[in-house]
Structure formats: C-alpha cells, structure tokens
C-alpha cells in the first residue's frame, strides 16, 4: 500500500531493532505489530500459560516438559540454519539431519571413551572444531557442482547426500560403531546434580531437575546467540542480496552480484549451524548417538518448522522448533493419553449400552481404535499433509518476516 507518511515508514522499519524496541513504550510496540503477528503472540502466550498451569497442578510432569523444551531448542538451531538457506536464499536442502549427524558424530567420535570404537577422549572443543570443518567442507563439496545449475539439482543432490551419510555411518563400524551407535559421550554438565535439596532454616527447598534446567538454559542461550547472529545477516546488505537471489536470481546477476558466491556462503553457513546443533545435542540431553537419529523424516520436521513458522523469519524459525516438537509428540499423546483418559472403553460401553445392542458395543470402542494407531505412520501423515497444505495455500506461516528489512542503525542515525 503506498504511503505518504514518512514517520510511518520509519516506524515500520524500526520495530525490528532492539535498541528502538527497548526504548519504546509497550503500547507503541504493540501498535506496530501486524494483526497476524499479534494473534500468534497471544496464542503462544496462552500456550505457555496453559503448560505452566498444567505443570503447576500436576497434569504434566516437569521431567516430561523440560526435556521437550530442550528438544525444541535443539530443533530451533536446525530451523534457524535451514531458514538461512531456504528463507533467505531459496536453497532447498534435504540434508538437514545429515549435517546435524555430521556434528553429532564429530563430537561423539572425538570425545567419547570406551563407548566409541575410536575412544579418543579429546576435549569437546576438538569435536566442535571437527564438526565445523567437516560440515563446511562437505557442504562446499555438494554446493560446487549443483549451485551453478537449476535450483532443483541441489534438492536432488542433498537428498542423495543424506542417504550416503547414513550408509557410511552404518557401515564404517570401525569408526562409528555402526548401527550400535556411540555411547558415553561426556555430558558437559554431568557435575550438576540431577536432583537437589537445599536445606533452609525450617524447611527444605527442593529444586526440580537442576541439571535439566542448566542444560535447557545453555540450549536457550545458544538459540539466542545464533538468532542474533543470523538476524544481523538478514538485515545487512548481504541478506538483501540473498533476498534478491531468492526472488529473482537473474536480476541479482544483472545487478552485478556474483550469485554463486552468495549461494555458497548461505549454504555452508546454514549447514555449519545445523552441525553445531548436532554437537550441542550429544553433549547435553542424551549422551548417545546412533544412525536411527538420521531418519530422513527429521529433515522434514525441520522443513515444517521453517515454513510453518514463516519462511525467511528468524522468530518464525525459533517458534518452528516448538512446532516440530508438538508434531512429533502429538501422535503419541493421541494414542497414549486419549486412549486411556478421554476414551476409557468402559465409560463408552456403559454410556452407550442403553442405546445399542450389546453385540454392537465393541465396534464403538474408540480407545481400541486409537490403540491400533501406528504412531510412525501418523507422524509421517501429519508432516506430509502439513507440507502439502502450507504449499497449496501459500501460507506465509505464523510469524512471517517484516515487510521491510533494513540495516536499522543507518535509518536511526539518519533521523537524529
């Protein structure tokens, strides 16, 4: 919509800038938010309150919620990485979980002791460096032959690459332990007690799951760090060129941009972020990794997270991590919780007994119906159907990117 109001345009562009945001009164901040965004934020707040309440009254166990939030944070690292590739530049990477695996195995093979065939027991920093170098190198090797060609070649090559990574890890037993997986990866916070009671005068303070809390805090700060890192990229001239490539690569070339170089940077950077996610997840929550974790469906969980969160939006990508966990957990919840709690067979049978003949009652046993549900199949179906629907209805996602993305410091000082 054309606007003649210069103040309006500056406000629009400025809302993404924290220094402005912190100085702004809350009411101004809320007024600058678009309708869709505010609905999402309200929904998110309601969800948060509901979870907190459920934990408080004891419907949900902290030991169930906290690891899931940590998992959401881990997936957020992956969605942030994919958002750089797909959201900024329009690159289709079907190797997300393979790059996560490269990170996870780099860490596992360098730092694990007797649980790993290599048994190197090196410092975690070595694993981190190995993950960065290896993921960057492999990303470059896939990118070189494909990025000069039509965009769909990268999709095909990455699909193949993910398969190769899985085959190699499964087969090189002397290094990766094959399908058995590598155990005994050192947890970075093993020294934090897993349960803690603080004796206070007159009472004992029970801190729930201190280690899980610390680990969650670490993941959350990693997500925040990566978020701030990629957001600066997005608002920069670099991000502007990437957006131009995504919209129209020919035009970017006609404007003198070496699009190959930009696409390569975006692909490698996103892949390294994914590998970092892999390193983090084996040192934090579960100190074990096996080829089972490299199931291609996980790559598409991450895709759902990005496109449902809002392609090109970093806040959307962070939210996408939560979405992924919700989709993964929903089928199990449906089967386990609804089967027993909502549809106990006895209740239904008793309620329906006066209405139907006793012989027909077993047919209406909804609980049994849910119990027969193949959880794997339902997860797959959810992912597939969501992908189709999002693409079909050209959904912008829950938190689409801002209308204009500008290096805000330039705008701000311009006014001053």
């Amino acid at each position: 919509m054309p606007t003649d109001d210069p103040a309006g345009e500056d406000r629009d562009a400025g809302t993404d800038e924290p220094r402005v945001g912190w100085r702004m009164p809350v009411s101004t901040w809320w007024a600058g938010i678009e309708a869709r965004e505010s609905r999402t934020l309200v929904g998110l707040a309601a969800f948060g309150v509901a979870v907190a309440l459920a934990v408080y009254v004891g419907w949900l166990n902290v030991s169930y919620v906290l690891p899931l939030l940590g998992l959401a944070g881990m997936f957020s690292l992956l969605t942030l990485g994919l958002n750089v590739q797909w959201g900024y530049t329009g690159l289709v990477n079907f190797s997300v979980i393979a790059f996560w695996g490269i990170g996870a195995y780099s860490a596992a093979m360098t730092t694990a002791g007797s649980g790993s065939p290599t048994g190197l027991e090196l410092h975690p920093i070595v694993g981190l460096l190995a993950a960065v170098v290896l993921s960057a190198t492999l990303a470059t090797l896939i990118a070189i032959p494909t990025l000069r060609l039509r965009a769909d070649y990268l999709a095909i090559a990455t699909l193949g690459f993910a398969e190769i990574v899985r085959i190699v890890i499964n087969n090189e037993r002397d290094y990766t332990a094959g399908s058995a997986g590598i155990a005994g990866i050192p947890g970075l916070f093993a020294w934090v007690p897993s349960a803690l009671r603080v004796p206070l005068p007159g009472a004992t303070l029970r801190v729930a799951l201190p280690r899980a809390l610390v680990e969650f805090a670490v993941v959350a700060s990693m997500v925040l760090f990566v978020y701030l890192f990629v957001r600066r990229l997005q608002l920069s001239p670099w991000g502007r060129v990437q957006r131009t490539i995504r919209a129209d690569e020919d035009l970017a070339q006609a404007l003198g941009k070496n699009t190959y170089r930009f696409k390569l940077q975006s692909f490698v950077l996103g892949s390294v972020i994914m590998a970092l996610g892999g390193v983090a997840s084996v040192h934090l929550f579960i100190n074990f990794v096996s080829p089972d974790s490299l199931d291609p469906i996980r790559t598409f969980y991450v895709w759902i997270g990005v496109i449902l969160g809002g392609s090109g939006s970093n806040r959307g990508a962070v939210l996408g991590g939560l979405v992924v966990v919700a989709i993964r957990e929903a089928p199990t919840l449906v089967r386990d919780q609804l089967t027993d709690a909502v549809f106990p067979p006895r209740v239904l049978t008793d309620a329906l007994a006066p209405l139907v003949s006793p012989s027909a009652v077993p047919v209406l046993d909804v609980g049994a119906l849910f119990a027969r549900l193949n959880v794997g199949a339902l997860q797959l179906f959810l992912v597939g159907a969501l992908v189709i629907l999002i693409v079909r209805y050209r959904s912008e996602g829950l938190l689409p990117p801002k209308r204009e993305l500008v290096w805000s410091a330039a705008l701000e000082d311009d006014d001053a």
């Binding site: 606007t3 131009t244 070339q253 003198g256």
Partner: protein, 267 residues
C-alpha cells in the same frame, strides 16, 4: 563514483564505439536466432527494432552474458567481455533491464534500490560483525542516494511499498532508478514503455532523455514505433538475426526493406 548517480563521471572510455558486437551468433535447435555485427556509439541513444523473432532479446541476452554465443565477440569499451559472467559485465558498467518487469517479492521499493550498488562492504560477512560502523556509513550514504533518485524519478512516495504492489509503469520507473544506483555507462532497456500508460510513458521518455543528456549511453528495444522514432537516433533494424538497416529515424522510416521485413513478419 558519484554520490547521487545522476551525474555521469565522463571518464575517458576510448575512441571506438562503446559497445561493439562482431559476428555474434546464436542458434537454437539449428535455427539461427542472432548473427549480427553492430556498434553503439558513446553517448548515443540507439534504438533496436525488428519484427517478432528478429533476435533482439537474444542479442541482449548474449551481450549481457546471460547466454553464451556460438561464435563472435562482444567488446565493451574496447575490452572483450564475450565469455564473462553477467555479473562481471554489469560490474563493467553495462546494466540491463528485462522485458517483463522483475518484481522482488518480499522487498520494498527502497530495498530493491539499495541492493543495486556494487561491492558494498556489508555484502561480505566479516565486516558485519567486525566493522559495523563502515557498513552503517555506507548504508546511510546509499539510503540518501536512493531517496534522491526516487525523488528525481518522482516515485519517492513509493519508497516503502512492497515491489509486488507496483503497477507495470511504476515497475519500469523503479527499474530505471535501480539501474542508476550503479552509475552505469551503458543501459540496455528491453521494451521500457510496453504496457505503460501515456502519462507515465511521457515521464519515462523525459527521464531517459535526461540521463542520455548527462552522458549515459542507451540501447533500447521497443515495439512502440512512435516512442522509438521520437527518442532514438540512430536506429538499428534487425531481421532474422541480422542487421537489416542502420540509420536515422527518417532513413529507417522510408526504407522499403524495413517495411518488407515487418510485412513479412506479419503474414
């Protein structure tokens, strides 16, 4: 590099034609699309016309590096740019527009202007984190320049409009302004007034003339004969990939071969 993009630096560019095309040939499936030799003089506003399928757009794509020729050379300011990538040719000062206006989804008009200038410090990753000050300085300068250009083209009210919401004519103006952000020596315009209403067409004509007066060389494809005969001199007529006639608008208008080529194209 000038600060506004409106003045032409007038650097010494040699004595020959600014853009020379020698025996440039391209076939598609055995059919010759282009096989032409032509030159565009420095500071001229050259028109390129011809019936449909004469090879005009193919020639543009060959010159700007989007297609690789089967044979022949392209010289820009005496330098052979035949096998150069499109972005390298653009960086040498030859900018082109596209027949169908390219709209940048997800970007505002202002953003789409800011992306144009070459070699911005913020286009590399490291300065963003280690020299954010220099990035900010450049951005501020570019924002000022974009604002000046938007005002000069009388589209400053569209600065924060999403590119996808522009009319056809507005897109053409934005394209021209965007190209000027890079201080080009040569501008190749592919049908600049196609689908543009008469008022905007008059505006575009003025802008092109003004830029030409300031030293920018133009090569313009256009099917609108009134427009091209009014604005361009000389005019090159392509037919079946070859140069049929080259001369002043009057000479072209009265040349029977041109009439024959167009009638042949119609029937």
């Amino acid at each position: 590099m000038s600060t506004t993009g409106l003045e032409y630096d007038g650097a010494d560019l040699g004595k020959d034609a600014l853009l020379r095309v020698e025996d440039l040939r391209k076939e598609f499936g055995g059919i010759v699309a282009t096989d032409a030799t032509l030159g565009v003089e420095r500071g001229s506003l050259t028109g390129l016309i011809g019936p449909n399928g004469a090879g005009k757009s193919t020639l543009f794509n060959l010159v700007s590096g989007f297609l690789d020729p089967d044979a022949g050379r392209v010289y820009l300011d005496g330098v052979d740019v035949t096998d150069r990538r499109p972005d390298e040719i653009a960086q040498r000062g030859l900018l082109r527009t596209f027949q169908t206006p390219r709209t940048l989804e997800g970007m505002t008009v202002r953003e789409s202007l800011l992306v144009a200038p070459f070699d911005q410090p913020g286009e590399s990753i490291l300065p963003l984190y280690f020299q954010p000050g220099s990035v900010t300085d450049t951005e501020r300068e570019l924002l000022g320049r974009a604002q000046q250009l938007l005002e000069a083209f009388e589209i400053d009210h569209l600065a924060t409009t999403p590119s996808t919401e522009l009319s056809g004519g507005q897109s053409k103006l934005v394209e021209l302004a965007r190209a000027m952000m890079t201080d080009p020596y040569v501008l190749l315009l592919d049908e600049p007034v196609a689908g543009v209403n008469p008022v905007l067409e008059a505006e575009l004509t003025d802008h092109i003339r003004r830029l030409n007066d300031r030293g920018v060389t133009f090569l313009v494809i256009e099917h609108d004969m009134d427009f091209i005969m009014d604005i361009a001199d000389p005019i090159i007529v392509l037919n079946q990939g070859r140069v049929l006639v080259e001369g002043s608008p009057e000479a072209v208008r009265t040349d029977e071969r041109v009439l024959d080529a167009y009638l042949g194209g119609v029937s």
